[in-house]
Symmetry: C2
Amino acid sequence: MVSKEKSSGEPVAAAFLKPERGHPVTLREVAEAAGVSTATVSLVVNNKKDARISVQTRKRVRDAIKDLGYRPNAMAKTLVSGSSRFIGLVADAIATTPFAGQIIHGAQDEAWRHGYALLIANTEGNGDLEKDAISMMLEYKVRGILYSTWFHRPTEIPESLREADFVLVNCFSTEPGTRAVVPDEAQGGRSATEILLRHGHRRIAFINATIPAPAKDGRLEGYKEALEAAGIPLDPELVMEAYPDQEGGYEATPELLKRDVTAVYCYNDRMAMGLYDGLRDHGLSIPDDMAVVGFDNQEVIAAHLRPPLSTVSLPHYELGAAGVRMLLGLEEAPSNTAVKINCPTVERTSVRVQAPA
Amino acid sequence: MVSKEKSSGEPVAAAFLKPERGHPVTLREVAEAAGVSTATVSLVVNNKKDARISVQTRKRVRDAIKDLGYRPNAMAKTLVSGSSRFIGLVADAIATTPFAGQIIHGAQDEAWRHGYALLIANTEGNGDLEKDAISMMLEYKVRGILYSTWFHRPTEIPESLREADFVLVNCFSTEPGTRAVVPDEAQGGRSATEILLRHGHRRIAFINATIPAPAKDGRLEGYKEALEAAGIPLDPELVMEAYPDQEGGYEATPELLKRDVTAVYCYNDRMAMGLYDGLRDHGLSIPDDMAVVGFDNQEVIAAHLRPPLSTVSLPHYELGAAGVRMLLGLEEAPSNTAVKINCPTVERTSVRVQAPA
DNA sequence: CTGAAAGCGCTAACAC
DNA sequence: GTGTTAGCGCTTTCAG
């Protein structure tokens, strides 16, 4: 009987538990155990549809695979096929921020969905490391590389990156024809402002960042667009600037209070967090005395401030996922501009409907 | 001349710019271009020291490599050598927390240092995904697998994981002989308490978490040890419990104030953040009316609260790095217990020297 | 329906 | 000093 045959000369039980070190089970061994050729085993392993294999043979092979604990060798497979199932992700800061993790997560999920595994490298902004990382990926014949930055910014394209199929994630290049995916800062700024507008506010301050960045320009642009759409003339006095962190927000408070506004849109959540403290020091309460919205949706902060902060979220997960899709050619890539990903609104309770004056 | 020869039949310039799609340059092509055998090229590429290659040949090969833009094929290399230069990292939550990022970062740096690349997979706690991820890694013949969790906890060992060389990171198993690396919660708890003790506090409350975890037990144990070492009898009244987040900390405030303490050690930073709000609502100031320390050192929170929070940091980066070292056998692994990594103290200004009563 | 054999790009004996 | 050659584990015609 077939089943008898299988268990004849092989240390079945032991192999089942764990292929002994240094000698993984190979296709050939499976073939021998099943009494067929390697070609046949290959065909059943890969479920080739146009392969006419008898049911019995198929079963015999399947059993041998189980018994021996066979695992295909992906390296050999790749060697033959020429292209690997890897997508490389190089990031400039994995640890510094919770954001990079989201990009990785999105990329990994999407890659996985299409049968790809993620090879990651953290360069911490170091050019040599970056070069080595890209070389490594190239040597592993990755399908392509996602080059990402933790904050949205313009970037140079490293020379070696050009050897691969690549897309820029959360960064962009002025070089024409470069595929890139970035957050839609202007839309985000518009959304943030609109939260306030929708609740009846008319005099809305915007505390922008002091440091130059696409986010700085985009978020301001969105603010202006929203006001204009609402028919509110822009009062330059209401656009302030502060360093984009807690301290900056805190220190901007006195200035803000001179502006006689009922609402403020902060460049980011950290700034809003500082502003919360500042407002409290002045005996003001949110949202009654002042409505506040932020930007970034940094969970730890925004969701847990008192009151929880309405904000707009940076779509890092989506950036990673869209990057993969673009790399694999599953998504249109406009040739002369970065694809902009929507920044969704996250409403919490730091804004309340304004009583008509 | 040699240089003449090189550039004769080959589209050198084009190849230099970018190896045309679908046909990467191979060792053999380099050999032909340089007029030597593949063995020679291999020797040059790998800098084999005991290879006697003439300086001219070496140069000829080097030039050909440059001209053609040759990249070794890591897959082929691996196939031959039998073992890959990959280390797998499976994580249950890459994005949910900033912590997982640190583990990845530490693992990737350390792996890199030893010539390994990191293959990562996010399982989001899904068993099937996890199995697939491990299979994938096994097929790529990873050197070993780091199995990590985002918070410190006991875990089951997935069956397929046993087929690989593995170490548990930030989690542990009761099975004897399992290598694991975890944070030293008790030491962390001791350190947190000692910050307060060192500043002259004697009546110190500990707000523990309500949910069971190794951290809950360890951090309490550390608190007790520190008090005992300081000769302060444990007052059970001073050990409270709350849900370990901002809301929990906020809500625990009234209870805390009944205890008549001068200092409080919170289970984590988020709880401390809530407590800050609670204390403020009661008109109390930190550190004058109450000294506060947290645990976790969540940057966004701890470093930027007003006043900045003294805390103890969870060594995620180190966990990842130590995991890799253990996997590669570069670090002793006690056979019957997890290796405990130190949780370093981070002192900021939420504690001040206590005026003697 | 299944087997034989060539070859993916590279390394490592072993020749010369 | 350098070339020849035999595989590593697998896929894929092409025979039968």
